[in-house]
């Protein structure tokens, strides 16, 4: 009862000073919008990095050769490169139960041409298991098979960037391309992966034997991609891979001539970093919300001073302290709630815009949080002016001009 009456009185005061109410609301609106938008951008950036890491395969381990050195001094002069045999050893289900598959990769830069176009890219000679290990489905055509690998057939699955570059207006399936002059038949096009780092779609994938035969020659491989049986077992799979390779290379931790790169731990690191980034953005928004709150205190104090006489009249004809307190608190709270609602509207509008390739993603918690905080701001920043109004003595207030 008293609540509704006080709300009505507060509302009348807000309407009576429309321009001032709007300006006060503006401060809160900008603050709330800033919090929601900045957090949404942080979340959007986080989503984009996470999805590009996941598109590489979330349970992927990547083994690359690494010269062991300490302060520039080579510790192990008899460095062995990674070989196809290493990849075969990693495919041992007894010694490496948590490894689902391992495929050697032999990468080299090539220039590929179609009938009338040319495109500089990278060729990857690998095994057919590469596609499942790297989470790389084809969007058209087929993969190559073990039989193709055994017979070193010159066929290829091309990335979507290569497909667009060499065959912009026609279907690449069944067509011939020449990479460094060696002809390959396109049998498949890899589904677009996208990504924030190197473009994983700018690649030509062919059977390892065919690439070795015709382009690179035999020898060491550039990397071995290893798939753990699940994302929970990536750490176990990493240990097993290290143990097998250490034994084959005769190395220990200090002299290790390879490096195992764990996708899951990268994801963790990236998420932690982005979480901090998002929190920082939110903090910047919170500062503007604080400024908005101080604006409310300011306006409410002006309002109390301006309405001293009115408060005196109200008290003279029987308003209790509690009523005056409630009226001013509700006035401040209503102002900040309106600001929060307008800010939310603004934030939802701005969140439609994509900036620097990041599409913001509005976090529900930040919306609820912005509302809760703006009510708190109304109560907190309104309480001082409200207390001042409530404790005015009626005779002094009535004398006020």
């Amino acid at each position: 009862m008293i609540f509704i009456e006080a709300l009505r009185s507060g509302w009348q005061a807000i309407l009576a000073n429309r321009l001032r109410s709007i300006l006060t609301t503006l401060g809160i609106m900008i603050g709330v919008a800033a919090v929601i938008i900045l957090v949404a951008f942080g979340q959007g950036a986080s989503n984009s990095v996470t999805s590009s890491i996941q598109s590489l395969g979330s349970n992927l381990l990547y083994v690359t050769p690494e010269n062991p050195n300490r302060d520039g001094e080579i510790v192990n002069p008899s460095v062995q490169e990674l070989t196809v045999d290493d990849a075969i050893a990693l495919n041992d289900p007894v010694r490496a139960p948590d490894i689902a598959g391992a495929a050697p990769e032999r990468r080299t830069a090539v220039t590929c041409t179609s009938e009338d176009r040319s495109h500089s890219t990278q060729i990857v000679g690998t095994w057919p298991s590469f596609f499942s290990i790297n989470n790389s489905p084809v969007s058209a055509g087929a993969y190559f098979s073990n039989a193709d690998e055994l017979s070193a057939r010159r066929i290829t699955v091309i990335g979507s960037t290569v497909a667009e570059s060499l065959f912009p207006e026609s279907d690449p399936l069944g067509r011939q391309i020449a990479c460094n002059g060696v002809p390959f038949t396109v049998v498949g096009v890899q589904a677009e992966k996208g990504g924030a780092f190197a473009n994983p779609d700018d690649v030509v994938i062919a059977p390892l034997s065919a690439v070795e035969n015709s382009i690179t020659g035999y020898g060491e491989v550039s990397a071995i991609s290893v798939q753990a049986s699940s994302s929970e077992t990536t750490d176990d799979a990493e240990e097993q891979a290290i143990a097998i390779l250490d034994e084959r290379h005769g190395t220990t931790e200090g002299t290790r001539d390879f490096e195992v790169f764990n996708q899951a731990s990268l994801l963790d690191t990236a998420n932690t970093a982005l979480g901090i980034f998002t929190a920082l953005l939110g903090a910047v928004g919170a500062i503007s919300l604080l400024v908005g709150g101080i604006g409310i205190t300011n306006i409410m104090l002006v309002s109390v001073t301006e309405r001293t006489r009115e408060i005196g009249i109200r008290k003279a004809i029987g308003a209790s302290r509690r009523f005056i307190l409630l009226q001013f608190l509700l006035e401040a709270t209503v102002l900040s709630l309106f600001g929060a609602t307008a800010g939310l509207g603004l934030a939802l509008l701005v969140a439609q815009i994509e900036i620097a390739g990041i599409s913001p993603s509005v976090v529900p918690v930040s919306v609820v949080g912005a509302y809760v905080i703006s009510v708190a701001i109304g109560l907190f920043f309104g309480s001082y002016p409200a207390k001042r109004a409530a404790s005015l003595r009626p005779i002094e207030a009535l004398r006020h001009e």
Binding site: R309, A316, R321, I395
Partner: protein, 230 residues
């Protein structure tokens, strides 16, 4: 019957030591129900202070004061608000209507603080406005009304509360002679219906309307005369 106003040896002291001012110095005053009392005095005679104490806007330094038999000497701020709300209808020199609120809303306000339901208080507000002859102005805001009309709205606000005491502080001080007559006629009418009225004034012709004139001087009662004796 319980007296509406019962002041006994009231003093009000401002400041301390050398700067001490005794604005009211031992006033005793009783107003019975249905009386129409004018309190007169030059400025500085203490009549404003007496008015504030009678209206429960201020508390005395010493002495006892009862409204309707209720001692208000040791009531806190909120309890004083309640006393004012239930028992006193104020009519101020400066009208003291709340700006940007319609006449009807202004009249309703004390009833709202009393917790009267919306429809009920709207009805009582319109009745009171009709009584002061402003039924057609109920939607007007104070700045759309003349001074005399504003003061009549203030009278309606006091009436709607159905108070034990109508307390008017120089009610005609800001009005021209015609509006003064209107407002004083209205007070006469209210008095004739049995209301108790205390009016603070320094004008003789205003005081003439009252049945009893109390004159203050230097914070003391100088004279207390019934009209019959004049």
């Amino acid at each position: 019957m319980t007296a509406v106003v019962e002041m006994h040896d009231i003093t009000k002291v401002y400041g301390q030591g050398e700067a001490e001012v005794r604005a009211v110095d031992g006033i005793s005053l009783t107003v019975e129900p249905g009386e129409y009392v004018a309190i007169m005095g030059a400025s500085g005679s203490g009549k404003s202070t007496v008015m504030n104490i009678i209206g429960a806007l201020d508390v005395a330094t010493s002495g006892t004061y009862k409204i309707d038999g209720v001692d208000i000497g040791d009531l806190d701020d909120d309890a004083l608000s309640l006393v004012r709300n239930r028992r006193i209808g104020f009519i101020f020199q400066a009208f003291n209507l709340i700006p940007r609120m319609s006449a009807a809303s202004n009249v309703e306000l004390p009833l709202m603080y009393r917790g009267v339901r919306r429809s009920e208080r709207r009805r009582r507000a319109l009745d009171a406005l009709a009584k002061v002859g402003l039924a057609d102005r109920s939607h007007h805001q104070p700045n759309e009304l003349s001074g005399g009309q504003q003061q009549r709205v203030a009278v309606a606000r006091a009436l709607a509360m159905d108070p034990s005491l109508m307390l008017a502080d120089e009610p005609t001080g800001n009005l021209d002679s015609r509006s003064t007559a209107d407002v004083l006629d209205l007070l006469d009418e209210i008095h004739s219906e049995g209301k108790t009225i205390v009016i603070i004034t320094h004008e003789d012709d205003v005081a003439e309307r009252a049945g009893r004139v109390v004159t203050l001087r230097d914070g003391k009662v100088e004279s207390d005369v019934l009209a019959a004796a004049r």
